[in-house]
Subunit: 136 residues, 2 copies
Amino acid sequence: MATIEQFLESKDIRITAMRLLIYKFLASKEVAVTLSDIQNAFDKADRTTLYRTLKTFEEKDVVHQIDDGTGITKYALCEEGCNCEIGTDLHLHFHCNNCNETICLTQHKIPQIKVPKGFVSEDVNLVVKGICDKCS
Amino acid sequence: MATIEQFLESKDIRITAMRLLIYKFLASKEVAVTLSDIQNAFDKADRTTLYRTLKTFEEKDVVHQIDDGTGITKYALCEEGCNCEIGTDLHLHFHCNNCNETICLTQHKIPQIKVPKGFVSEDVNLVVKGICDKCS
DNA sequence: CAATAAATGCACTTCCATTGCATCTTATTT
DNA sequence: AAATAAGATGCAATGGAAGTGCATTTATTG
Ligand SMILES: [Mn+2]
Ligand SMILES: [Mn+2]
Ligand SMILES: [Zn+2]
Ligand SMILES: [Zn+2]
């Protein structure tokens, strides 16, 4: 078990205090978070820095964006050994209509989707909406 | 084959010149359209009117919104006899990364998605991204 | 330490969704 | 038909979030 510093460096990300805080915050959450969630957690943080940090994390395959249909981008840490970079790790996302939280169902991969002849599938986004386990 | 006027009235929508134009425009398109698409087609039209017309159409199950992940809401006519209102008509949507157009694949229903114990699925949004038949 | 590269913070812009309110139009009632 | 009510439209304004430019601070390297 490497330290967070080692992990980020292995991903070619330079260590800064802010980045460590953001990483730890993401790791402490079991649900996907918005930029505002992070901003509220550290009110001294500038929104732009958070935005660009998440962008860096995403480029380095440390986090992935989630579009759950609420219109607000959410972020979650990638799983150990996920395959975000090659588009293989297509797990589904669940959005709770009650508590409004979104969670990665990393164990639930998106089934193979058939598309009509002539169409080429490159990426799939699947969001299930309903009631989460905590709310039901 | 009823007239458009009769159809809209059967859906409890009052007939206006603008609504007929918007309906015909939607019917003429085989792809999902944005508010701006409609606005550009009728430059005399006010954006708010278009917006509210589409909202009305949606409430009356004449059109459905599509969130294809571009961040811009798109609209398409519901199919004859679709089941938007009861959430049964869950066809998938295809977004072309090349021409940037989004199309309803109404013949392709979303497969049953398994969710973990404790979760209740109420709705599913599935968007496939790739290359469409015209671009491949 | 000097030189360089990267990260941060502030201000600003852009884009789209959404609303308030006044006005115009259509449907209903007397 | 005139009066009234209900609904549709247009203009202006707001709000929320994503994204960018640039100056400043911080870290890295020789
Ligand atoms: Mn996820
Ligand atoms: Mn559709
Ligand atoms: Zn919930
Ligand atoms: Zn295409």
